[in-house]
Structures are given as C-alpha cells and as structure tokens.
Amino acid sequence: MARKGSRKTGESHIDIVPIGHVDALAVSVVAANLQTLMGLNADTLPLHPEPEYAYLAVRSQYAAGKIIKELESIDEGSRFKLGIVQCDLCTPILKFVFGESQLGGKAAVISLHRLQDKDPARTYLRAAKIGLHETGHLLGIGHCQTHDCLMAFVSTIEKLDGQPARFCTACQYEISRTLKYIFG
C-alpha cells in the first residue's frame, strides 16, 4: 500500500479514506487493484469516524451523497478521494447502492455491507470491482454498454460476481487518456 510522501511528480494518485470500522485487508485489496488495473497509486488516509452525520433513521441506512460531500471537503492529499465504509448506503432514489460517485468529480464512496461473502477473497474481489467502477466515474467515464466491462452497470451481487475484473478496451483507453491529461 502506498503511503503519503512517496509520490513522484506526474504520478497518478488517489486517496483512499477508510470511514468507521472497515476491514483493513479490503482497503488494501482495493488499493492494489486501483494500482494494477488503472495505474492509480493509492494513498490510504487515516481512519475517519463513523459517518453518523449521514444516518437516515427512516431508512436505517446511510446517505451516500452526504458522505461524498464530506470527502469532497477534505483539502489535503490527492484531488481524488475514495471512501470505504462498512455501513449500508442508499441514495434518495435507490433503495441501496454498492457505491456512489460524482461523474467527473472529486469523491466517491463504496460500501462493503452488501458485498460480504463467507469467502473473504470473494468479498475483497467484489470491493475491488466496485472501487474500480466508482473511480472510473470520477474520471468522467459513464456506464459502458459492454457487459463484460467493469464500467457496465450492475444492480445485483450475482451480476457483480459474473463480471470479470477488467475494463473493455475503450474504457481502458479512456482511463489512460484521462489520467494522462490530469496528471501529465
């Protein structure tokens, strides 16, 4: 896992922000996959407290949008922030989300809540896929129509498991192009 201070000029990077009680290994796997599949060096910021500010009593869930706003307000570190939470996330229109992101924005968040499997390796792989998908949105990439691309929209855990951990050629090209444009 990359740490702050080890960055070189022109290096693509993103800050991973563990929020509340989160499996540290899941954070490491997400970071490693961002590095391998997207060429983004991931720094892990210190643990943030549980996001009580985002709790919605009426739904017994946490508002993804509020967590994203909080992440966006962090001034230090990279221009991109990816939050990882254990709690269940929702948006005003969706009953739940595996993750949420600002298209072409600064911050995204993923939740491990619905990704749990009795096999931890599977849980981590799911987290990595969601982390890569939401980070793709941060780079301005929308949903892909190619079904076996990580940028395709998946609405169920079964579909997520069926999705290979790779981007299609077009999305991969777009990721490289955008990173080059942003980080030089």
Binding site: I93, L94, K95
Partner: protein, 451 residues
C-alpha cells in the same frame, strides 16, 4: 438509443432530481430537471423530451395536471409517474390519463435498470411503428411499393450490387437521369440493410431554399430564427439508426456541404440556435442527376464532400438503355391504374408496345408512369393501343429528334414508311431506298409488326 434519448425529470425535491439526473447521466442519457410542473412545461415548449419521469405529488401543479397539459401538446410523450407514498389510486388515475407506467420511490437498482430497458424497447417500437406508417402512407401515395422491377440485364446487375453493398454502412452515391428511380434504389438498399427497422428519411435538396434545407436537416431550437416558434428535430436527428437519403445532392450549397461533411464525419451536430451537440448514427445515401466531377472542376461542388458521400457509386441507366424493362413496367403501371380507376383492361397492343419501346423517354420511368396513367384514363376498349399513346408518337415528336439515338431514328423512319404504305413491304422498302430482305430483317430485329 440511450445516447440520443432525452429525459426530463419533474420533481419538487431537488435531491431526487439531482440523484436521478446523476444516475441517468452516468448511464448515458441526456437529462434535464424541473422542480415544478410549470417549469417543466416551459422546458417542453422549447425542447420536448423523449421520456418524462414525473412526481405525482407536487405543490401548485401536481403530476396529474402536468401530465394532462403535456399530453395536450405532445400526445405521444412517454410519461412515467413516480410516487413516494404508494398512492396506487392516483397512479391508476395517471395511467388512465396516458401515463405509461408508475413506480414507487426509492427504486431497487435492478428494477430501475430493467424498467428503463422496457421503456426504451417501447420507445423503439413506437418509433418503428410511426416510421412504418409513414413509409406505408408514402408508398400508397406514390404507388411505388413494388416498382423496383428487375428484368433487364443492367437492372439485374444493379440489384446484385444493392444486395452486395446494403449490409455495410458505407455512404452511397446513386447517379442517373431524372426519373430513373434513384429513390427506389435507395429504399431497396435501406430495406436490405441492418438498419431496415430504423427510419428511412428522404430530403429533396433541390426543392428547398438553403435556409429551409438547413433547418430541415439539422433541426432548430425555439427562437433560432423568425418563425421558429418551437423546437424541431431535424432529419439528421430523426434518421438515427436508419438511413438518410439526400436526393439532388448536387444542388446543395458549398456552405451546407461543409456543415454536412462535419456532421457525417463526427456523427454529431448542433441544431440551429442550439449549443448541445446531438449524436446521430445514420447511413447516408445521396443521389444526383448532375455530373459532380464536372461541378468540382468548375468549383461548384466541394471535392472533400464528394469523396465522403461517394464511397460506393451506383449508376442507374436511363430507360432507353433498358428497353426490355419497358413492357414489364408499362404492364405494372397499367394494372395499378386500371385497378385505381376500376377499368377492366387486358394490356397493350403490340403496336402500343412497339411505340413505347421506340420512344426515347427523356423523363424515364416517371414519364412512362404518367403516359400509362393517361392512357388508362382515356382508354375505351379492353386493350390500350397506339392511338391512346399518340403523345409519344415519334411523328409528333420532331423536337425530340435531336436527342434520339440512331436506332430510334431508324425505327421511327421504318415505321413511318410502313404506315404510309399501309404496311406493304415492297412499296415501303422502295420508299426507304433499301431492298425488301433488308427491310424484313430490320422489322424482325425491331419487332415491328402490323397489329
């Protein structure tokens, strides 16, 4: 389909609007939002959307009232009602007033995804239905639904080429004289292509002024020019997933050629007065009766545009070069007009067919159709004879000799001699200055017979 679909979200809760907008934008749709029914109606006035997601419960104008008002100006709008309160009664009322469906907020992600797929499938079906209706109506009006007759050798060769090139998306240029049926060739290509379920949109570039043509092709936003009282989609936009047929492309101004070239290459363009690029995936088929290479030499046509539209060329020969088609086409038109006029006609006499075959048809198939139509109208007997076709009789057609071929002149001259000699071969041959056997041979070759 997604990328050209415009969604308008109408909800008084800003968070709902933002959240839905973010989801649909990520999924590739073009999205606008309105926080009230009134604001939504203003947007509709300027640029109607394809799909409306409307909250039922809103202050002032509620969703049901908005739906009613929207349906007055856009009866075919696809409207989906949303409710946070599970008020099924109201939702049923909305369905009665023309809403396509309703669903409760918040949505299950899988439901939302499947729901949008269903709406898009429904939209595609409606558009296909409308296109087919238009085409059917056009075919009925023009009576061209089955005129693509493949009989002569040149037309067989063209038909083979159509079968060969139809599956690709390469631009095609159809050349040929006026009235040879270039539009029928374009339609035949479209209906044999993978885009056959999409629209076939034809624009006659020669019949419109430059400004009208520009608006017709690219569409315009409300207020783009005097008289643009509401936004309108252009043919380029409407031809998405289908074929755009530019007839008389040689008449397009150079300025328009530049705009079209950009739209063809980038597959996106702006409406007049618009700022949002519109994507459209269409196949371009152009047609002209003019000699475009000569126009390029005279600097009246852009060579870059010519090379772009002329990836494949199909040259449709004039009717006089495919004489074998004349009896078949004439018979086809005869049947159609006989049916329309309720006349019982058996066909053409040999003499009439000879007359039709000897004419040089400067107006090609269109002229033949008109000639047969007129003949059917004035016909008295069961067969159409030469007397009903006097207007194509070469003897009354001296002005056309200048453009007649040697063969046509010979046929006419022989016929005239035969008729003036009451079909006496010896006297006719003397009059023509040839011997009897030569005349007999020529009569056989040109199938000249007294009927």
């Amino acid at each position: 389909m997604k990328f050209s679909t415009r969604i308008l979200i109408v909800d008084d809760e800003e968070m709902i609007c933002e959240s839905l907008q973010a989801w649909f934008v990520r999924d590739g749709y073009q999205v606008e939002t309105a926080l009230s029914g009134e604001a939504a109606l203003k947007i509709v006035e300027n640029s109607p959307a394809d799909i409306y997601l409307v909250d039922i419960k809103m202050p002032h104008m509620d969703g049901i009232e908005f739906l009613t008002r929207l349906k007055e100006c856009q009866p075919n709008a696809i409207v989906v009602m949303m409710t946070a309160h599970g008020t099924v009664q109201t939702a049923v009322e909305a369905m009665k007033r023309g809403a396509m469906d309703y669903f409760c907020k918040p949505f299950d992600p899988d439901e939302l995804s499947l729901f949008m797929e269903r709406i898009l499938a429904n939209k595609a079906l409606r558009e296909e239905n409308n296109t087919l209706k238009e085409l059917l109506s056009e075919s009925n009006q023009q009576g061209l639904s089955e005129v693509f007759i493949v009989h002569s050798e040149p037309m067989r060769a063209i038909f083979s080429k159509i079968e060969e090139v139809a599956p690709s998306s390469a631009p095609i240029l159809i050349t040929g004289e006026t009235g040879v049926g270039k539009d029928m060739v374009a339609k035949a290509i479209h209906f044999r292509s993978e885009r056959s379920c999409g629209p076939f949109l034809a624009v006659n570039c020669g019949s419109l002024s430059e400004s009208i043509l520009e608006s017709e092709l690219f569409g315009h936003e409300k207020g783009a020019f005097t008289g643009a009282v509401k936004a309108r989609r252009g043919r380029l936009e409407m031809a998405h997933n289908g074929t755009l047929f530019l007839d008389e492309v040689g008449e397009i101004s150079q300025k328009m050629q530049v705009s079209l070239l950009r739209a063809i290459e980038e597959k996106s363009f702006l409406r007049l007065g618009g700022s949002q690029p519109i994507s459209s995936d269409f196949r371009l088929i152009s047609a002209t009766h003019r000699d475009l290479p000569s126009l390029i030499k005279e600097k009246q046509f852009r060579d870059d545009f010519y090379y772009r539209i002329n990836v494949i060329t199909i040259d449709v020969p004039p009717l006089r070069e495919r004489l074998d088609d004349i009896p078949v086409l004439a018979d086809h038109f005869l049947k159609r007009y006989a049916e329309e006029t309720g006349k019982s006609l058996g066909g053409f006499t040999h003499k009439a067919i000879d007359l039709l075959s000897s004419y040089h048809w400067p107006g090609n198939i269109r002229e033949l159709r008109n000639v047969v139509e007129r003949a059917v109208v004035i016909a008295r007997g069961r067969m159409i004879g030469a007397e009903e076709l006097t207007f194509v009789n070469p003897r009354h057609d001296a002005g056309l000799i200048g453009s007649a071929t040697l063969r046509e002149l010979e046929i006419n001259q022989i016929k005239a001699a035969l008729e003036s000699c009451n079909w006496n071969i010896v006297r006719s041959s003397k009059r023509l200055g040839i011997d009897r056997s030569t005349l007999m041979r020529k009569m056989k070759r040109y199938r000249l017979d007294r009927c």
